[in-house]
């Protein structure tokens, strides 16, 4: 087997442009695969985050007394669909505002606790109960506005679904394309080396001695391409984490879990091994008659 590795290494080294082309195609294929997986996992995690926090926020009109809010809170607590309520005072609202805008002093200067409304955050057991609770709140004369994240959940659900479908189709197509590219390159190399193969046969080389280097070469292109793609996708993700955290800070997706990235690397390498070996096996079966 060591000799097969040495022969495969020599085959790659002596045709550097073909090797580079094959490697680039595998790299792009697995980069696309990993980007789709990261997007799908990210949107799934965001969806879970929003689903785990089914919450309606009711803002109260200026002049609403604590008794008015308490009465509504008591009424809601009798609803079986409601799991929790939380009163947010003007001072707490200011603290939240200040935390969110701590990097923008101009915004902080203009706002005081007085201009912020008091609010009530109501959590429900299920996301689909949010609309019903929001309707109850809207009927209260002291409530000025309600925010229901149901739309966010619906949008995220459709986005996740689209990413999954488009991702699966694209990745499936790219996998087939990558396999065919391996078949083509290994097939080409077999034809290029037909004299050498013929000589090896006459020298008494076993079929596996002749075939193995070609199969290892196909596997190398797949595995190396996948590893390179993973390195790039992880580097980009790591580089853009501070920027993305500004948008996704609360969702808690970033920094990305290293274990998840290791799983991504492992699954990519397995997929690459399968693509590489399938492609080279097919080429050997098709073009290498021993």
């Amino acid at each position: 087997m060591n000799r097969s590795f040495a022969f495969a290494r020599r085959n790659i080294r002596r045709t550097p442009f073909q090797a580079l082309a094959a490697l680039m195609i595998m790299f792009l294929t697995f980069l696309a695969l990993q980007v789709f997986i990261i997007l799908a996992a990210g949107s799934q995690a965001a969806l879970r985050y929003f689903e785990s926090k089914p919450q309606v926020i009711a803002f109260f009109k200026e002049g609403t007394t604590n008794q008015d809010v308490l009465a509504i809170e008591n009424a809601l607590s009798k609803e079986t669909k409601v799991t929790n309520t939380k009163f947010v005072s003007k001072d707490e609202a200011l603290a939240i505002y200040q935390e969110k805008n701590k990097n923008d002093p101009a915004l902080l200067e203009l706002v005081t606790a007085n201009i912020l409304p008091v609010s009530l955050e109501i959590s429900t057991k299920e996301p689909q109960d949010l609309a019903e609770i929001a309707e109850i709140l809207k009927r209260e004369p002291v409530v000025s506005d309600t925010i229901v994240p149901e739309d966010v959940v619906q949008t995220l659900t459709s986005v996740t679904s689209i990413i999954r479908i488009v991702g699966s189709i694209t990745v499936g197509f790219l996998m087939i394309f990558a396999t065919l590219v391996i078949v083509m390159i290994i097939g080409f190399k077999i034809r290029l080396k037909r004299n050498e193969i013929e000589i090896m046969r006459l020298l008494g080389a076993s079929p596996s001695f002749i075939r193995n280097p070609f199969i290892l070469e196909g596997i190398f292109y797949g595995v190396a391409g996948a590893a390179l793609a993973w390195s790039l996708s992880y580097s980009l993700l790591w580089y853009f984490t501070p920027f993305l955290q500004g948008y996704l800070g609360e969702v808690g997706l970033l920094p990305v879990n290293f274990l998840f990235m290791l799983e991504l690397l492992g699954s990519s390498l397995i997929a690459a091994f399968i693509v590489g070996s399938l492609g080279s096996f097919a080429a050997v079966r098709r073009y290498l008659k021993i």
Binding site: R3, R14, N195, E196, E198, I199, M200, R201, L202, L203, G204, A205, S206, P207, F209
Partner: protein, 224 residues
Amino acid sequence: MIIFESVSKKFGSLPALDNISLDIKQGEFVFIVGPSGAGKSTLLKILTREMLPTNGKVTVNHVDITKIKDRDIPHLRRKVGVVFQDFKLLDDRTVFENVALTLEAQGKADEEIVKMVEHTLKLVEIWDKRNLFPRQLSGGEQQRTAIARAVVGKPDIVLADEPTGDLDPKTAWGVIQLLNEINSWGTTVIMATHNQEIVNTLKRRVIVLKTGKITRDSKEGKYE
């Protein structure tokens, strides 16, 4: 050692070998002579199992090679070294690597390969050219490399298909002397040739083929 029993080979309706029977003993040096298209190369290709005869039986070391399974063909070929007219060396490998390929194909260990290749290259007197590529060698040196590759695995039989065809007379003699020496170790040498001078000077067994038939088989024969 090698027995052909009523062997025929046809390509379509054209006979390349027609009911050939012959017996070659261990350690013999045999010339196969005859005009182009007489069936010399076909006979050699049957011995390496590159071809199967249409009819008949071919035995090498008591094994009917027409009946062996595909997976056993490499084992047969390890016992039969082949030298070609056009050398068939790999251009992208050095002399050493070309010769080592035989042993690598046989699964020998690296240390053993180094020893055996060194020994063989010294024997054929091209050890000093071991790091050169075939294009950097003369025709005679290329054929010596090809002979080294054929014999490095210590085969029982060496088949040489017109090995002097592309060489000048002086170089051709060098190659013949080398094959003669290999034969002196007890290796059976079967050589297909057109070279009348070599056949007549060496005075070894001569089998004459014409249109696929043996027309003469004589010890210490001549090429007339």
